[in-house]
Amino acid sequence: MKIIVSVKQVPARDSNLRVASGGKWLDDSDLSYEINEPDAFALEEALQLKDAQGGEVVVVCAGPERAGSTIREALAKGADRGIHLVLPEDAVLDALSTARLLRHAVKNEAPDLILTGLQSDDLGYGQTGVVLAELLGYAHATIIMQVEVLDGALRVKRELEDGWFQYVTLPMPAVLAIQSGIKKLRYATLMGIKRAKMKPVETILAASLGLELGRAAIERVYLPARSKQSQILTGAPEQVAAQLVEKLKFEARVL
């Protein structure tokens, strides 16, 4: 089975995030970057499918020079090779443009399966995988929690709202957008890190492809305004307790 995983490099979640002067993006002077979290789970799913079925895992990443480290991390975890579509440092693409780039990278690969993360932690479009599938004419499904390979087909479990799940069977080749948190992630072992140095990474300058790449224009980046609200619940103790539990569950989401 040949699996392509598309991964993106995003600002690390624990970085000290500050809005850049100009207010259009983040100040990147002391920003650190990491693999987009849902993509890490897509990679894990791909590696586990490979462990079970055999085959090849290819990672594809559209991103600036520095995103090479995310490809090498994926190789260290066990992917077989990488394709890096190199973008300028400050490129912010829309989902269609990214999908066009990815399609270019995968079109000669004839994969059985393409896995992406559900969405990216920085821009959060949640569309790139789906648009890519449409461009390729592949079947697709999103918010995937489980993947089972049947004879030439896939049976997947999707997460719906309110604790509902949907089981769907779809043909291959297919694109699946993977949900975060579905498996325990493996570590890049030291031997894996060492072996990764020998694995091939093809770099393609995005600008050299002559594709029409629309840039998303970001108007303003700002921190959400903080507001403190107090609510006093009144009524019989049982009702107040029930209301409180409700609010803690669905508004504060701490239960």
Partner: protein, 424 residues
């Protein structure tokens, strides 16, 4: 462009077979929200910009492993005085045992990469780092450096994977800072060695399958591999430690213990062979303690930002408190640069023992002071096991003593700059 047709319904032949509503949402153990308190690092001077991509990746592996697997178990292990043995095979799988050695399954990492791993491990607990230091620098290193091919083949793969644990016996009841005075003797008899004597304060002693033991012979000090179960060899654990509680510390007893000739380390000649192992371990300690210091500093910084005293003002808003935080971050930053520089010297073959003495001595003293200051800044909470500080503080008292005390390293540096040995 051939992607102008954005949807073709033909391929959507998939069917939705079923819907399911479980009573409770599936337990999603690895849901990211649950990943509490990921360590974001302490890097005031952008020292990370001096690290290579591979070095950062190695540190990331160690950092995640420590957050996910080590931190959740160390507090309990420390309180119980129990070695968290289940970590051993994981440490082996990741390649952390003998990480900077080449061959026999070892990853051949640089000394800087090795140091970064030690730093992350000691951020959790000095006892866990001690285990890894002893296994890699004091057991695997001498076997690789001084051992025969048969010894290497027999032991290194098992030590690397964590299947076997090793220990290093140099210190004796009457010889700590001055190991060259050792009394443990090995005598040749009928082509075998007869070992008599006692070693004490030996990390991993009773859990080790193999002990690297240094003993006096008629030709000078030599190293021996003593296997668990050898007749005349026994161990006993040292109880009552108020420091390094999650690391095993034992005494080793040798009474007419017969060691086959092939278990002598053929290339280990003189006390300097033992001291070379210590240089390896001390380099790792110089990095490791930065981790403990970072954890103390970060704990104190976040605590003093939340805790308010006097006019609803965070502790961190008071000048005296800020000065203490500033002292810590400054010393940690200097320690990072010192470790990185000595690590790079070691990678280029230019680090000698006196350089490593400065690294060990300075960084341990720095970490100990950070622990004391942080303890102070947390007030009464500072003495509780809910916070890691008292544990680091107690552990670092050992780290100050073992692998050459603070005094002894001062004397090594003193001898280097004056030419006058002042040990006696």
């Amino acid at each position: 462009m051939d992607d102008s047709h954005l949807s073709s319904a033909a391929h959507r032949s998939f069917v939705s077979d079923s819907f399911a509503l479980p009573k409770f949402p599936d337990t999603i153990e690895w849901r990211t929200g649950a990943k509490m308190g990921r360590f974001a690092g302490v890097d005031y001077l952008l020292v990370d910009s001096l690290l290579s991509e591979q070095e950062l990746l190695v540190r990331q592996t160690a950092r995640q492993f420590v957050d996910d697997e080590v931190l959740p178990v160390v507090r309990e292990a420390y309180n119980q005085g129990a070695f968290p043995r289940k970590l051993v095979s994981q440490l082996g799988e990741l390649g952390f045992l003998g990480a900077n050695l080449e061959g026999y399954g070892c990853a051949g990492m640089s000394n800087v990469e090795y140091g970064l791993i030690m730093q992350e491990l000691e951020r959790a607990d000095s006892g866990v780092r001690s285990f890894v230091s002893v296994q890699g620098a004091l057991v695997m290193y001498p076997i690789l450096q001084y051992g025969s091919d048969a010894q290497k083949e027999k032991w290194l793969p098992r030590l690397q994977s964590g299947e076997a644990i090793g220990c290093f016996g140099l210190t004796e009841p009457d010889f700590g800072s001055n190991p060259s005075g050792m009394r443990t003797r090995a005598e040749k008899r009928n082509g075998e060695w007869l070992l008599n004597g006692e070693k004490t304060w030996i990390t991993n002693g009773s859990v080790a399958e193999i002990a690297v033991v240094w003993a006096r012979t008629s030709e000078g000090i030599r190293g021996f591999l003593v296997e668990k179960g050898t007749k005349g060899y026994s161990t006993s654990d040292i109880h009552g430690k108020l420091s390094m509680r999650c690391s095993v510390t034992s005494s080793l007893h040798f009474s007419d213990c017969v060691i086959p000739a092939e278990n002598q380390l053929p290339c280990a000649k003189g006390i300097k062979a033992a001291l070379a192992c210590l240089s390896q371990a001390r380099h790792g300690i110089g990095w490791g303690v930065i981790g403990a210091a970072m954890d103390c500093y970060e704990t104190a910084r976040t605590y003093t930002l939340t805790r308010k005293q006097f006019d609803d003002k965070p502790l961190a808003g008071h000048q005296l408190v800020q000065e203490k935080l500033v002292w810590m971050i400054t010393e940690i930053s200097k320690a990072q640069l010192l470790a990185l520089h000595v690590g790079r010297l070691k990678d280029s073959g230019k680090a000698d023992a006196a350089h490593i003495s400065m690294l060990k001595r300075n960084n341990v003293a720095m970490a100990l002071e950070c622990a004391r200051i942080s303890r102070d800044l947390l007030g009464a909470n500072g003495i509780m096991d809910e916070y890691p500080i008292m544990r680091h503080l107690c552990n670092l008292e050992t780290v100050k003593t073992y692998e050459g005390t603070d005094h002894i390293h001062a004397l090594v540096i003193g001898e280097r700059i004056t030419g006058i040995p002042a040990y006696r």
